[in-house]
């Protein structure tokens, strides 16, 4: 089955990022296809590679990047939500005249149409958030 995942909450806030990750991992282990994970609102903060939690804590951002690498996951960050919160890739940083970029490995920045498409193309869309 094709499953889409929507993450609306930032990491280390409540538990939505953890739940979304654990759900995505379990779905992949069961042989389902994750069509896309879309990060919206504060969820875009899951995609900043400058995250550096204490050593004894889980690294939520790296965890997504690793899962993406293992399973070729499509991790998409909403561009408007990302720009508001200072999350950008190299191209976007250049375009906006910024001196740095911080999009983590495995993520890509795109528009809300990608969420709509995930809703249409997936058999189920599961929302995690605040």
């Amino acid at each position: 089955m094709k499953i889409g995942v929507l993450v609306n909450e930032g990491p280390y806030t409540h538990e939505a990022s953890d739940s979304a990750y654990n759900f995505t991992k379990a779905a992949l282990e069961k042989g389902h296809e994750i069509y896309r994970v879309f990060f919206y609102h504060d969820g875009v903060n899951n995609a900043t590679r400058l995250t550096e939690p204490p050593r004894d804590d889980r690294n939520i951002v790296n965890r997504w990047s690793e899962l993406s690498k293992q399973h070729n996951l499509d991790l998409v960050v909403c561009i408007a939500a990302a720009q508001r919160r200072g999350v950008m890739d190299e191209n976007e940083a250049k375009r906006q005249g910024k001196d740095a970029h911080n999009l983590a490995e495995g993520f890509r920045i795109s528009g809300l149409g990608q969420l709509v498409e995930a809703g249409i193309q997936s058999d189920r869309l599961v929302t995690f958030g605040d």
Partner: protein
């Protein structure tokens, strides 16, 4: 329909609204702080028991354990792991997160 509730009923009214509006035969999955709704002896015991004949109610095991409540779950509530969560999503034609 699978309803997913992730907030404590002592914090938000999502569980209350969900139980009121879910139609008979639906499933309700409590995750994160939502599992507080499934505690034996809690204020929501009555509401859940009243809903149980018509609804299937599940609680996420890892979230119960994280809160030290794995052995305090209301009778009639089924405990599932993340794999069970995935199965519930697959078994129901759609799902609604009560954020």
């Amino acid at each position: 329909m699978l309803h997913i509730v992730n907030k404590s009923p002592y914090e938000r009214n999502a569980l209350e609204s969900c139980l009121r509006l879910a139609i008979n035969g639906s499933a309700v999955l409590l995750i994160e702080d939502g599992v507080y709704g499934a505690v034996k002896g809690g204020s929501f015991e009555g509401a859940l028991q009243a809903a149980l004949p018509g609804l299937k109610i599940y609680a996420l095991g890892p979230d119960l354990s994280a809160r030290g409540m794995a052995d305090r779950v209301l009778d009639g509530v089924s405990v599932v792991d993340y794999g069970g969560f995935v199965d519930l999503v697959a078994e129901h034609s759609n799902c609604q997160s009560w954020l």
